[in-house]
Amino acid sequence: MIIAYLRRIYSSFAAHVFDIPSRLLALLLFLLLLCFPMTRPPLSIFVILTYTSIMAIFAASWDLLVGRTGQMSLGHALFYGIGTYVTGLLFYHLGWPLWVTVPLSVLTGVLAALLIGFPCLRVKGPYLALVTLAFPPILTGLILYFRNITRGDMGIWGLPIFFPFVSYFQVYPANYYFSLLLLFVSGIILYKIATSKTGIVLTSILDDELASKASGINVTKYKLMAFAISGLFASLAGSVNAHLLHVANLTSLDIGLSFIVVAWTIFGGIGTIYGPIVGVYILQVLDQYILTQIVRLPTPWHYVIYSVVVIIFIIKWPRGLARFVTDKLKDLEKARDIEERGKWIWKTYKKK
């Protein structure tokens, strides 16, 4: 009986993953990332890839809000910063352990998303983009102003780490696996939301808000839902990253973070959820590993090359890298189908 169950699980898995080339590719990439520590790379790569995974969650959450729902947000670092600072402040003032502070900061992120979602319902298009841009500097100003509570631009240091019980050299691989698991789970949740019925409603808001309103969709509710889900994952990324780096400071509210997430997403393919994850991995590894450790260019050149790559991609392939690959795979699949159908027709013809 157990064997029958296992067989059923395997067949459903095969039907959902193996038969769809893009999902198979995603699984292979995930397995590659899972097995990659077997080659015993230097510890610095673990640090880079851990940060990359966290940023991938952040980029995917942005993609759900902007690529799927069309609520153009240029201040997504706000949620990230809220996640970072809530967990940091709870630790600093109350000394709570991280399995309390991380959920609480995620909750705060959701509440903040709902709170700023309300004014954002009224404005549209470029105004929305510019309004959301205004939120991170407001929070930065408040943090700098109340510096006796938040420690201002010094930041909060010494946050607890996730795995205090493993040895010093095992901490980085452990963090790496943890962040990868987190990315896998959040990526699947976000993808499932984006492809579910709710996701279709969100896409209808992106396509034509008036038409979806006319067909009886409560647009306000769905927009707020998109804000809340996006805020949840962004603040999760922020609070987890604060614990991974042991520090909560103002770089988490930086204007650059809000913009670079846009670059990653457009590079990977906006509106696909898996696109930004791929984009983050490629661009981060290009920036942090290839240009820093292999080519050893001075830092300003990294940003120049990075930006030039992003500009070229946007002009040449505006649909993004992930879409490009999935389109090619679909073409292959179609070709295979035609071939098989041709064989089948040939067989039936011969029988007659």
Binding site: V66, M72, L74, P119, R122, V123, K124, G125, P126, Y127, A129, L130, V131, L133, A134, F135, P137, I138, L139, T140, G141, L142, L144, Y145, F146, N148, I255, G256, F259, V262, A263, I266, I270, P298, P300, W301, Y303, V304, Y306, S307, V308, V310, I311, I314, I315, P318
Partner: protein
């Protein structure tokens, strides 16, 4: 205190308006949200610095004009090469322009290091040439010549631009493009070339604003583009995207709000809460003002168009 608020508010208001002028112009004509506006500002300050300090001494006015001219050329080339292919998609335009901003910043770091560089104080030089004291006292408020110069020049540029747009043929063509791009094209207007020209004007306005504003502070560094970008956003949203009158009024409102906060409210809060006073909250107050205005009028004070299709 009230005199200080009135005078400083007017001066910083006109400066913010000049910052936002170029931003709103390029949005109004070609629908581009140019996030590289702040870096064109920064580029202008660096060119002025290089022309007056590094290589050879020029007269101040030719140096400003030369800096503005170079930035205008850079702006129009950049517009043609990178922004024009994606001009229909606003998100792509934003990403392209922010990438351009990062490229400019990093190139300046490579060329001039990330340290601060001293910008020649225009007002100080003017006072030296005229042989008068550097400080002017207006209603008991101390002002430098740089501040007065910035304010006067920005009002003059506003007037010139208004006349240019309403009276000349090219200006009216720009207005036509902003009203309806396709029809303007059908009427025989070369929209692409005019958008490039608009970008050049917008970039040179940013460069002039950069020289004037940074010569008050007296220093420039490669990260100096972020604050002007935020300020031009705030002004432009408040006044309405694409409206020139709106950017002047929005700039003045923001100048007065900021100075009222800095001179009157901030010391009050600091004395009540027993905190050290500093300007860190003024940015937050400006953004909150913008938010409140947008809640009442979602398209800003004078904004008309919300979509460009």
């Amino acid at each position: 205190m009230i005199e200080a608020i009135l005078v400083y508010g007017a001066i910083s208001g006109t400066m913010y308006a000049l910052l936002a002028l170029g931003f709103t112009l390029i949005y109004g004509v070609s629908g581009v949200i140019n996030l590289a506006h702040g870096s064109l500002f920064m580029l202008g300050t660096y060119l002025f610095f290089a022309l007056t300090v590094r290589s050879f001494e020029l007269w101040l006015l030719p140096a400003i004009i030369l800096a503005a001219f170079f930035v205008a050329i850079v702006g129009s080339i950049v517009y043609r090469v990178t922004i024009h292919p994606v001009v229909k998609d606003q998100l792509s335009v934003m990403v392209v322009t922010i990438s351009l901003a990062i490229i400019f910043q990093q190139l300046m770091i490579l060329g001039f290091t990330s340290n601060r560089q001293a910008v020649l104080s225009l007002g100080g030089e003017l006072a030296r040439i005229l042989g008068v004291k550097e400080l002017v006292i207006l209603w008991g408020v101390k002002l430098t010549y740089s501040q007065i110069l910035a304010s006067v020049v920005s009002i003059t540029l506003f007037a010139i631009l208004m006349i240019f747009i309403t009276k000349t043929k090219i200006g009216r063509a720009m207005k036509a493009i902003s009203q309806d791009r396709e029809v303007a094209m059908l009427m025989g207007i070369n929209t692409e070339r005019l958008c490039m020209l608009t970008m050049a004007i917008s970039a040179s306005l940013a460069a002039v604003a950069g020289v004037l504003i940074r010569s008050i502070a007296g220093v420039t560094d490669p990260s100096v583009w972020v604050h002007p970008l935020y300020m031009s956003f705030a002004v432009v949203i408040l006044g309405g995207l694409g409206s020139i009158k709106g950017s002047l009024i929005g700039g003045l409102i923001i100048g007065y709000v900021e100075n009222t906060f800095v001179f009157a409210i901030d010391p009050l809060i600091a004395s009540i809460l027993n905190l050290p006073k500093g300007g860190t909250l003024s940015g937050a107050v400006i953004m909150l003002t913008v938010l409140l205005v947008l809640l009442i009028r979602p398209k800003g004070l004078f904004g008309k168009r919300i979509e460009l299709e």
